[in-house]
Each structure stands twice: as structure tokens, then as C-alpha cells.
Symmetry: C3
Subunit: 317 residues, 3 copies
Amino acid sequence: MALKSKKFRWERKGLLGLRELSAEEITYILDTAEGFEQISSRTVKKAPALRGKTVVNLFFEDSTRTRNSFALAASRLSADVVEFTKKSSSVSKGETLLDTARNLEAMGIDIVVIRHSAGGAAKLLSRNINACVVNAGDGFCEHPTQGLLDVYTIRKLRGSLDGLKIAIVGDIVHSRVARSDMWAMTKLGAEVTFVGPATLMPGQVEQLPVKVSYSLDEVIEKVDVINMLRIQFERLGGNPFPSVREYSHYFGLTVERMKRAKEDILVMHPGPINRGLEMESEVADGKNSVILEQVTNGVAVRMAVLFLVNQAAAQKK
Amino acid sequence: MALKSKKFRWERKGLLGLRELSAEEITYILDTAEGFEQISSRTVKKAPALRGKTVVNLFFEDSTRTRNSFALAASRLSADVVEFTKKSSSVSKGETLLDTARNLEAMGIDIVVIRHSAGGAAKLLSRNINACVVNAGDGFCEHPTQGLLDVYTIRKLRGSLDGLKIAIVGDIVHSRVARSDMWAMTKLGAEVTFVGPATLMPGQVEQLPVKVSYSLDEVIEKVDVINMLRIQFERLGGNPFPSVREYSHYFGLTVERMKRAKEDILVMHPGPINRGLEMESEVADGKNSVILEQVTNGVAVRMAVLFLVNQAAAQKK
Amino acid sequence: MALKSKKFRWERKGLLGLRELSAEEITYILDTAEGFEQISSRTVKKAPALRGKTVVNLFFEDSTRTRNSFALAASRLSADVVEFTKKSSSVSKGETLLDTARNLEAMGIDIVVIRHSAGGAAKLLSRNINACVVNAGDGFCEHPTQGLLDVYTIRKLRGSLDGLKIAIVGDIVHSRVARSDMWAMTKLGAEVTFVGPATLMPGQVEQLPVKVSYSLDEVIEKVDVINMLRIQFERLGGNPFPSVREYSHYFGLTVERMKRAKEDILVMHPGPINRGLEMESEVADGKNSVILEQVTNGVAVRMAVLFLVNQAAAQKK
């Protein structure tokens, strides 16, 4: 794979989603991230790759992890970072997303990292500005760097995703993580099963390249990796499940349930965890958990993405 | 002009308003900004001029454009930037503006960029602290870097402002942009006309160095440059005009109205635009619009201002 | 003292409070801060000591002074700074403090500067993460860098604290500043008197290494240094004193009261000042006031703390 990727040349000056990427492209990002992972473990965590470049964090939804992870990734590549949050902005004066982005571009921003509640927001930007656009989550569509850091983490610990059985459990319908994971994991050869109550399954799930199960107990023994999605109370309308206790009973990753899992199962979570709901604390902090490794790898993956899109943009000039 | 400015020496360690500047001083800032404009178009957008200096963005009003523009200008000159916004601050504990500023100064801040709803806030600071003070907008008084970037944009595209006819249209009374523009434009030889409904004209407008018109239709054919001010709903009390539709009918820059304008008229707007109100989208995005150039030039002009005030402060030590 | 400290080696990779530090350790921080004070007065205020390190400002309470002071200290040591405030964070999604900190650590943060309303928050973190932890104020417990900058300021102006009489006046019970001051000042040989109404005295004050007085008038003539605590209206429950006017009458530092003080008394305040309440403006801005020197010294002291904890962490690896 390393050999193959050496002949490869990354050509995209943005990262909108993983659906549109080839397995080769995904692999190339992961290989690039491996190089950057070392920088983050050095005493001096700095590379000059983006010196004199400006990255804007254009976040229209709350975020700790992703926003900080991108900011750190950009800083470690020596870029200047501009933080742009909804409240402190002209958006409260009614300016449109496009005007905001065009203005930032006019100021000489090189890369826009955008999170927005509307699906397609990143794509809309990328069609209308010349700066590089990196999707940090758009509606219920994609969260590509999360997908990448998930497959990076699995590949690092298992060597390859080829033939692995992976369960993604919980609120699938509202999860852009589930979608980006699905594309990345299946393209790299894994078999993905969406697990959750029928009320939290996407409408036409049978058209997606996944298996579906409505019972975690049926799946838990068979999988090599399990990714427990966060219940996002802030997004749940209606009553998708009778109670938190009931959800937890059927779909929570408990110590009890873990006893039936493969001994070396990798337990993942995109964070932040609702401890006691999606999983018990003993599992979150247990020996199979790779949740903090995911966070660490996220910085390396984002460094790779920022580096590659900037390089592609430079080549096109 | 370049020759003339070479003999000139900038002496002010702050920028409070354009009213007090000579034409020579304004020209000197514009000439300096020309040099900095190149830096922003380089691959590595960095100059070391303010390395080891600290600039604080002390903003008591919401702002995207101006705050980010100053932050980028400071970063490109290698300064450290401290963001200070109303909410995250001791101002919520009742500390006075002066105490806040004196404390920042005591921490070794070199330049304070201040935006405040009270006219004279920047001047108050400059009389009470030794750090450089740059006015980023004070009440309805001045917004000098906006005035500078406006004349910079016109000079760049027309060579000179001498003899140009310029209309500034809209809510003049609440506009610090109109005031700073007026001083900069008239000092550089342009003829300025304030255009708007009588209810949005300043009280003693006849004492200002401008013409006044209450009809955009009378003015539109004659001007070389038109600057469409933003209707700032958040500042309008009472009922200065019957309805948005009526305002737009008489004072909006429509495609229809543009047909009667000079073919090479420059269309400006300080942003953010209320599309469909001050101007139609086709005009905002049309061939005569220089709105995004204004934004680009704003960074260069602010780099020049930060550079010059810091240099003047260093010479005085 | 300088000689003594040269043989000393700082071993703590965090700073949780001053209670646990020896006089020698405190002195060593002050000596280190002296070196850094010079950097802040240079034209280029930069030292490379923390280049490639990342400091996060993890503030769960509002703060101007302390947050900016740490940010500037970190920047002047060339660290990258991540600002983390309550509102823009996953804490609003219900994530626990520990999860937040562990995630930041997983991203490769080197130093966490934490302010939290819960006493012991910094200690909790330090036991659970490997990154350096610096307490920027925890509940009513400690605010060690404030204590350090206070003794730094006194030592700088008086040569030593040995034998000095110091009054700390006001809302002692809610003041972490009073506690950190008490430990630092008494360990360096000063005699500390807590002064305030009985309702604002800690419960078992007789067990602390201080004198207690309920009358500022009894104390004012005798002390070399007076530290006027801020009345923190946001923390006062009940009715600890009949009225602001009455408090001010008995415990405010008025011009009148200052006439009875030693001529060279040092007047301190941790800021922000409620002018006219804890002290009259003429006193705050008068010749005995060292309030702004405190602010200036705060940056140097924080540079020293960040430098030392990072160095200790590096030695342990």
C-alpha cells in the first residue's frame, strides 16, 4: 500500500466527504498522517509546512474536540489560525454563509474548515470560493476527518481493515460520523453493520453498503471493532426510544455485554461520551477502549488533510 | 506622490480618526499599504515587522470583518494577537474601560485596537495609556481604517481621487464610515455627496465639506464612485423610513438604477450587505462591484497602520 | 537567596497551590521570574523556551486578567495557546471535566491552565492526566500565581518580605487570593493580618497562620503592605454586610484613612477594582499604589511557572 501510494498524487484542494474518495485516496491520506503523527510526539511539535498560510475555523455549531483538533493541527504546521464562531460574527447581522466565506477569502484565508448544521454547506462553499474547503461536519451528511481518524486508528492497531467486521451502534440516522465511517471502512475492505433501534435507522438503509441489525446482542460476539455513537439529545425530536434506561439496556455497551465480545475487540466512540448511556465508564476507560487514541490520531489526520489540500491548491496555481 | 511621501515622516503613535490627518499623512499610509499588499499575495504571507509585539483586539461591539482583518494584519506582521471580547471579560464584572486598558498595557501590550459604542472611546484611551491606540470604530464618529481602505481601493483603481465625484448613500447619521470616508475623500480632492432620506441625514450637515442630496436618482448619473452604506437595523430607533420596501425603492442600488450610472462606476459597500435592501445581489456581485477588493485592501491598510504607529512609538522611546 | 536557589532544582510538573510549596521553592520561582521580567520589557518580547509546546487556557469562570496574562506569558515563551471557554465547549454537551482534560491531553497539550469554581479541580486534573497542570484559581481554595505575583511585587520593591507586616482586607472567606497570599507571605517571613467583618472571615481562622482584626482603623497605621480584596458581588450570598456604604465606611481604603498609614505603604489589589468601594480612586491611582506593577509582574511570574513545570516534566520523561 505504501508503494502504491508513492506513485499516487493527491489532486483535491478540498475535502468534502469520503463518499467521493477512492480507496487509494483514503490510503494516501492515512499514509501522510503517519508521517505527521511523529511530529505530534516530538518535543518540539512544529513543522513549517503551512508557514504564512491562514486557516479559518468557521464553526456554526458547538464543538470542542474537532475545533481544537483542527486548530492544533494547523498550528503544528505553523499556520496562522483564525477562530470564527457564530456568536461573535456578522452572521448575527444576517450575513449569508457565502458572503462570510467570500469575505474571509478576500482577506487572504487559504483554508476554510467549516462545520454547519446544513448538509452540503461545505460543498456550497467549495463551489463558490477558491480557498481550500475542509468539511468538519455538515448536517447529517458527512464528517470526513472523523471517518479518516477512525480508519487510521483501526489500521494502526490491526494493520489493515480488509475483512474486519465492524459494528456502528446507536443513532445512525442523525450521525454524520456513521456515514463517513461507512464510506471509509467499506472502501478499505471492512464489513460494516449498522446497529440500532428501527426508529434511529436511515430511511433507505438497504441501499447503503452495510448490513443492518436491530439487536446489539446478536452482533456483539462477531465484530472486531465496535463504534458506539453518541446519543445527541440536542438533535433528537419526537420519542425515538421509550427511555434512556431502555435504550441503554438494549444498545448500551455494558461490562456484562463486553464479556461476550471478542477479547481483542476495539471499542471506539467519537466523543463526547454520555457515560452510562452509550457505554459504561468501565468500558470507556477499559483495556479495549481506543477512544483517546482516536483523539490523538485526529490531530495527525487533520494535519495530513490540511497539508494535502494546500499542496494541491499550490500545484493548481 | 511616492517621491513626496519619501521625505515625509509619520509621527503619530495612534490612529484615532481621519479628520485630524493631513492629505500627506493619508497618502503616506496608502503608500505604505501598497508595500504590504504584496505580502498578502505571497505564498508565505509573513513579514517580521512586529515580531515580539502584542496587539490586542479590544472589541466592545460585534464585528467579523474588522476584527478578523486586524487580527490577520497583525499576524502577517508576526505580532502576537490577544482577542478581547466583551462577554469573556472583566467588563461583565463592572470594570471601567480605562482600567481594562491600563491592565492590558501593564501586561506589555504594544497596540490596542479598540471598537466601542461610545464616540471618543479611542481618544479617551490614547490620552490615558502609553500603548499605541488604533480606532476600529467609535460610536457614530469615525472608523478610520475603513475610510483608508476605501480611498486606497479607489486610488488603486483610478490612480487618484482628485476631481472624482463620490456619492455616499443611506443611513448617514448613524454611519462612522460616512464620516471617515468624507474626511479621507475630500482631503484627497474628491467631491463627496451624502445621499439619503432627510431622516437619516446628520443635524448640521451643511457645515460638513459635502454636498447633500435627498434623491439617489438625481445623483446616480453623475458619480464616479458610489458607496452604499449598510442599513444597521440594530441602531435604528423610531421609524426613519416607512418600510424596507420603500427605502429600497428610493435608495437601493438596483439593476435598473445601475443602467443610468457611468459605465465604469465603482460600487462600494462596507459590508456586511443586506442583499436586496441596499443593493440587489446582481449589483453586489456585478462587474462594477469592488466590495471584495475593499476587504482585501483592508488587510494591507491595517498592516500599514499597525506598522506605522508601532514605528512612531519606537522612535519616541 | 540567589546563591541558595542556584543549588536548588525545581521538581514539580504542576502548580496546584502555595500551601504545599517550601519557602525555597517559592523563592526559586521568584528568581526565575526576575529573568523573564526582562524579556517583557524588551523590544522583541520573545523567548524560545516553549516553542512547539501547546498551552491550553481551560477557564470555567470569567476572567480577563488571569486568562490574558497566562496567554501572553505562554506566547512570549513561543508556545501555541488554545483558548477553551465554557460556552464554546463540549461542556455544554455534558462532558465531564476529566473527559475534557483527557481529550485535550490526547491531542498533545503540554500544559493545562485551569480555572474552575470547584475547589480541588486542578488537583483532580493533575492526578488524572500526565500533562502539566497549573491552577489559575479553584473555588475558594487557591490562586497560586496571584500569590506569587504579590510576593514578587513586594520583594522587588522592599528587597525581602522578612519581618514585613501585611494586611489583607475584605471578603476573606470567599477569597482564594487571600489564601494563596497567606501561604506565600508567611513562608517568606511576613506577618499577615486578615482584616474584615466577622461575617466575611473564614470559619476556623484561628487555625491559620495569621492574625485577625475586625477593624481596619486599628491596623492601618502598623502595616507595610495592604492588599485590598475585591468585593465579589457575584459570590456573596445572604447579607454579609448591611450596605455597600457601610462596608466602604469601615473597610474601604479612603484618602482619609491613608493619611494614617505609613508613608511608604504598598497598596495592592488583585483587580478588577470596584472604585469607591474597596478603595477610592485617588488611592487606586495614587503614589503608594502598586496595582499595575502587580499586573506587569504577573506575566513574568506566569512565564516562570510555565517554564519550570515544563522543564520538570521534560526531566521526568
